[in-house]
Subunit: 240 residues, 2 copies
């Protein structure tokens, strides 16, 4: 009998080395807000996003003339053109452009995953597109939650559960991974009222304090786009 493809959920980048596999496809997840913003930018026609880890790199590239999105702890940096809200990445501002991107948790996770077969960007906005691609591509899958400064977060985990549940509904996927089981169970609770469930998330509260929580319903909307951003030679482009 052919061995089934395995799904694993890595709940924090701090333990990603335990899940790293050059044969796996990795989906990077930072629902509030980096990967929701990245999916929005590609939905609205951005050409390329260049993830960079440090603000120094982002600043240096701004000085070279790049458009730059840079955020730390939810707040846009003063030298940057964009913050981390998906609403920043409107068609008018991004179409055809290349944008340098640095966020608290998301860009770090993206670069970390670059040892695997393919790095895909995941959010509720492109859930079904991801499901279809991963089923067709027929490899083991690691769902990497960007988390919050290495601490577990609810919204990334619940999304990992949503995608894992979708994949497990296909006969060629299976899991023996406890964090995948837990994520699916949390998704099954949360899906009844996704935005309501996220009321208790720490990141939801952080955004509220900074009046940045207007994005919460948007970031929990399913299937707004069938675009999948993916990493090629250190840059995010559209998977075609």
């Amino acid at each position: 009998m052919k061995q089934k493809l395995q799904i694993e959920v890595c709940l924090t980048p701090a333990v990603f080395e335990k899940y790293q596999n050059p044969d796996s496809n990795v989906v990077v997840i930072d629902i509030l807000r980096a990967t929701s913003a990245i999916c929005t930018a590609f939905m609205n026609g951005v050409d390329t996003l260049i993830p960079v880890r440090t603000l120094d790199e982002a600043k240096a590239m701004k000085e070279q003339g790049y458009l730059v999105a840079a955020e730390r702890d939810g707040l846009v940096k003063d030298f940057a053109d964009f913050g981390n809200s998906p609403f920043n990445f409107s068609k008018e501002r991004v179409q055809g452009n290349t944008i340098v991107y640095s966020t608290t948790n998301g860009t770090n996770a993206i670069q970390m995953a670059d040892t695997c077969n393919a790095v895909l960007i995941g959010s509720f906005l492109n859930l079904s597109a991801l499901e279809q691609y991963l089923v067709k591509n027929n490899r083991d899958v690691v769902l990497l939650c960007a988390a919050w400064k290495d601490k577990f977060n609810l919204e990334d985990t619940v999304f990992a559960g949503a995608l894992a549940a979708r994949l497990l509904s296909h006969a060629n996927f299976s899991t023996i991974c406890d964090s995948t089981h837990a994520s699916v169970d949390l998704w099954n609770i949360a899906k009844k009222d996704l935005v309501g469930y996220m009321e208790k998330s720490a990141q939801r509260e952080r955004l509220r304090k900074n009046n940045l929580d207007d994005v919460i319903p948007y970031c929990h909307t399913l299937d707004l786009t069938d675009t999948i951003p993916f990493l090629k030679d250190g840059k995010l482009i559209l998977l075609t």
Copy 2:
């Protein structure tokens, strides 16, 4: 208004430094099987358990004449007097004795937690005793899951959820920690059929493969003892 006491759940020792707090009480959790075994040993009258991280240390102390419990990946080491099954620690074998103890995940987590106010050993076997002590002792609480080689596991997390739910039922405790919310939600699913829920746990499967799964129902039994083992000067003794 007085600030409420905070509960946090640390899902893997790999990120414990993010939760470390010299003012907190820490409960170390390794349900299958180290902390269930330790609680059993104290229930049956062991005098002192000396946790050591490495097998070399355990072996050296065996040569000095100590009784030694030593296990890796579920299997008892050949130089040791005991493995890691709670059923090893019967009254006849442990009463009044000092035993050196080294396991795959549990002893590492115990020593790591020793920077906090108090290190307590938790399992389903002493759940209510822990609840009562932590409420009375009136400090912030960190629930440290020993996990499996730094990977999340279900049984430790579900127990953390059980204890967190108990504490949160007391007005002086609160949480803003996503992993605590997730653990409580998982406990609320699992508690309807705790042993049945654990069927999908990876550690349950590992134990089954080695014919060591006779302990599963026992390790998920609530309140067999009101003893609480705690760490003093690097040794586990009974909290009185």
